[in-house]
């Protein structure tokens, strides 16, 4: 796949890729060996490093430990806002039913109103946190609930014990919650209201500046992963299920819970746009950033121009060129 | 040697022996000890290091159970330490978290005496050991000699039937030692206590004891007993030093020869 074979001496020995344990195009690409044909076969070792969330991935980017990182778009905003030298090159998936606000059976919570006075758990700084805050704000009860900062595994534990009746979380823990609960709202519905959240891919600019072709190849891997899924969902689900230690059925269900983009869709006006005309996703990111700023989560909300520059579709375009 | 009229028998020890069973084979520390202590006796025990002096004292104190023989106090078996037998150790083992007075009041307090009596007793013995001025001092600011005086007063305050002392003056310098000997001698004369004292200083034993026991090691047993009266007669009362005469020197030489073998 790499055209400049003559300059192989300049290629890095290894690339470090931070990923999340979620069933997405990256996971398909990883488990089906698609990276091998673009990287390993060129003598480049791919190191895959699991992160629990974008939080730790951002730290790893800051210290230069990884070159690529997958994270929720809120963490992408944090990266930009805190001055990390990175750019956004891909949208893995637009979050839909994969995330949602679960309420426990028998808690008599059927509407936003009922949430008043409740404890709601969610991992702070996540896309779920963002969606939850907006949901509460829409309902006008943001000051009437107690938010608890918990990691997903702790949410399940607290849920099982009955400490909490509501939590905004994502798969696979969301599935655990829904075993004895129901979904009050999903990120899909929130996205329809304009609060779009997505898992995105960031790359260190130092890396992308040096090896733009490799970045394009990286996107090829991801889009091939997406293609594989679209071609044969069962096969992809079976592949990722093993790594995620869930059943293929569950995997497929979770995969269907979000929207996977093709490169062409990603370059569309609704999402990243092209190098010449920024897409709508930049606006969404800016809105999200403004919201996070009002929450004092970030100190400065970068300008629209900064987001336009941050979201860089050039590598997608490159990946489509040949 | 004098012909003295003996007091009542307080302690009777017969064929007493102690084996220590450590991790290895048992050690026979003392063996075949026979001893009768009368009221008013001032017994000094001499003997080479490791001959079992402390072991014997521990049995009498009730800290250790003999493995053979009998030990009766006032005709009864002893089951453990109690206030009838007060003990003064070489290191004073006073309680550093208590003042001088509190240390002395400890015994009477344990006996649940009325508060008034406790204070009175403590004051009395503080006076006897010349420490009334220092009653509120903390222990660790006292000199070695003062500490031993507190330890002495602490035991005296309990008015035990027998006072047991294990090299009480061993850690003091020569001069303080002579002053302490004088103090003990004066107290003994005044209160008519019964004292069983271990020492390694022959001069000390000779100048204090009414009875001097000499022990030998392996097996640790009493090989000689002397009845003396230097404590009553041959003392230069101004300095508290024993007036040395021919008889004294001969006795001392004899004892040294006895130990030094």
């Amino acid at each position: 796949g790499c055209e400049n074979g003559g300059t192989e001496g300049e290629l890095p020995k290894e690339v470090n890729i931070g990923y999340l344990r979620v069933p997405n195009d990256e996971m398909v690409a990883k488990t089906m060996g698609i990276y091998d044909q673009y990287f390993t076969d060129q003598g480049i070792t791919c190191n895959f490093i699991i992160f629990d969330s974008g939080v730790d991935a951002n730290k790893a980017l800051a210290s230069g430990s990884i070159d690529f990182a997958t994270m929720g778009n809120t963490n992408g905003i944090i990266a930009l806002s805190s001055g990390l030298d990175v750019e956004l090159i891909w949208i893995h998936e637009v979050l839909g039913k994969i995330e949602g606000l679960a309420v426990k059976n028998g808690s008599n919570i059927n509407s936003a109103e009922n949430l008043k006075g409740q404890k709601i758990a969610t991992p702070f700084a996540s896309t779920a946190h963002y969606s939850l805050l907006n949901y509460l704000k829409e309902a006008g009860i943001e000051n009437d609930v107690e938010l608890l900062d918990m990691q997903t595994q702790d949410i399940v534990a607290a849920w099982e014990r009955g400490d909490i009746q509501a939590a905004y979380s994502w798969q696979p823990t969301l599935g655990e919650l829904l075993k004895n609960g129901s979904m009050l709202v999903s990120s899909e519905e929130m996205a329809e209201k304009g609060y779009v959240t997505a898992n995105v891919c960031l790359v260190r600019k130092e890396f992308s500046g040096k090896y733009p072709e490799l970045v394009a190849n990286f996107i090829k891997c991801l889009s091939e992963g997406g293609d594989t899924y679209r071609r044969d969902g069962q096969q992809s689900a079976a592949a990722v299920a093993k790594e995620l230690e869930i059943t293929p059925e569950e995997a497929l269900l979770q995969m269907e819970g979000s929207l996977w983009l093709t490169p062409q869709e990603a370059l569309g006006a609704d999402y990243m746009g092209t190098t010449d005309t920024p897409g709508h996703f930049s606006k969404i990111m800016k809105d999200t950033a403004d919201f996070l700023q009002t929450q004092h989560s970030i100190e400065i909300s970068p300008s629209q121009e900064a987001f336009d520059a941050f979201i860089n579709p050039i590598y997608i375009e490159m990946s489509l060129e040949n | 040697m004098k012909d003295k009229n003996l007091g009542d028998i307080i302690i009777e020890i017969k064929k007493l022996g102690v084996d220590y069973t450590g991790s290895n084979e048992p050690v026979k520390a003392i063996h075949d000890i026979n001893l009768t202590i009368h009221r008013g006796d001032f017994i000094c025990v001499l003997g080479p290091s490791g001959c079992g002096k402390s072991t014997l004292l521990k049995v009498i104190a009730g800290f250790l159970k003999q493995t053979e023989g009998t030990f009766l106090m006032n005709g009864k078996e002893v089951v453990g330490p109690d206030w009838n037998r007060g003990v003064v150790f070489q290191s004073a083992s006073l309680y550093p978290w208590m003042s001088v007075r509190k240390n002395i009041e400890f015994g009477p307090k344990m006996k649940r005496l009325p508060k008034k009596d406790i204070t009175e007793i403590a004051t009395h013995y503080l006076e006897q050991v010349n420490l009334l001025k220092f009653e509120d001092q903390v222990i660790f600011e006292l000199s070695g000699g003062m500490k031993q005086r507190v330890a002495l007063a602490r035991v005296l305050a309990n008015e035990p039937e027998v006072m047991l002392m294990d090299e009480p003056l061993g850690a003091l310098d020569a001069l303080t030692r002579i002053q302490m000997q004088k103090l003990i001698r004066d107290i003994w004369k005044k209160n008519h206590n019964t004292i069983f004292m271990i020492t390694h200083d022959v001069d000390e034993a000779l100048s204090l004891g009414t009875r001097v026991l000499v022990m030998s090691s392996s097996p640790g047993t009493i090989i000689k007993e002397l009845n003396l009266d230097f404590i009553e007669n041959a003392v230069d009362s101004r300095t508290g030093r024993v007036q040395i005469n021919e008889e004294y020197l001969k006795l001392k030489e004899a004892i040294l020869d006895l130990i030094d073998t």
Partner: protein, 261 residues
């Protein structure tokens, strides 16, 4: 000899110099942009952040509220540890049978990383204060317990023996001798224990908290607010040192006889 005073002031200058040097290096590398402000924020930025947190609080809570809730957790946990570990430790030290029962359990959990069993605690106790305080409690319990056991087993046996000879019964010995004699070691261990609990604070506040100085650092690290992280660390460092100084002062006051046993 005469140079002692001069020496100690040179040393103070050296210490101040060291910190000044650290500050200058810090200032210079951030000023010259040698490292990204994300990795090392400038002293000015950290100070600004400190002032802003002082004024506006963090996450809707004042800095004092954050400190307050952390210290509340620390205080309750330490207090619980003190009132349970001391009696249990002393009993374990004094009665071999108690020790046989309790000791191996403590020895087993002691080396465990708190985070390993925190999950279990959350499953058992929920996400409220109780699990946080229990985590800190367990961290603080072991050092005090272990120190009590060793204090009692290393106690000067003469203290106990002389108490018994002065008429004290087992109960008297325990409260009047064993307890005070162990106090200096207990105090040292309380300092260790509070240090251990303090060290565990961030772990405890990592789960299901939205307050506390430890949570502040964790939360700031989520949003990559380096200057807040630095503020948090500096505050924790200083309060940690202050707590220890306070405890040390208390120690000198209460167990003034320490080192004189």
């Amino acid at each position: 000899m005469q140079n002692k005073k001069k020496n100690s002031s040179t040393n103070r200058l050296l210490t101040i110099g060291t910190w000044l040097a650290i500050l200058i290096v810090w200032f210079t590398i951030t000023k010259l942009g040698l490292v990204s402000p994300l990795v090392v924020p400038s002293p000015g930025a950290v100070f600004q952040t400190f002032l802003s947190i002082l004024e506006n609080g963090y996450n809707g809570r004042s800095l004092w509220a954050h400190l307050g809730i952390s210290f509340y957790r620390l205080f309750v946990a330490s207090l619980l540890a003190i009132v349970t570990a001391i009696p249990l430790g002393l009993l374990s030290g004094y009665f071999e049978k108690v020790r046989a029962i309790v000791d191996s359990i403590v020895q087993f959990y002691r080396p465990l990383p708190p985070l390993a069993y925190y999950v279990v605690l959350i499953l058992w106790l929920g996400i409220d204060e109780s699990s946080k305080i229990t985590l800190l409690y367990l961290a603080a319990f072991a050092p005090i317990y272990v120190a009590c056991v060793s204090a009692v087993t290393n106690i000067n046996q003469d203290y106990i023996l002389s108490a018994k000879s002065l008429g004290a019964n087992e109960r008297d010995v325990f409260f009047n001798v064993v307890f005070p004699a162990s106090l200096p070691d207990i105090f040292t261990s309380i300092r260790t224990a509070i240090g251990m609990a303090y060290t565990t604070l961030v772990s405890a506040e990592m789960v299901a908290a939205s307050s506390g100085i430890g949570w502040m650092v964790i939360d700031a690290s989520r949003y990559l607010k380096s200057s807040v992280i630095f503020v948090g660390i500096i505050i924790m460092g200083i309060t940690g040192v202050l707590i220890d100084l306070g405890l040390r002062a208390l120690e000198n006051k209460i167990v003034y006889w320490k080192g004189y046993q």
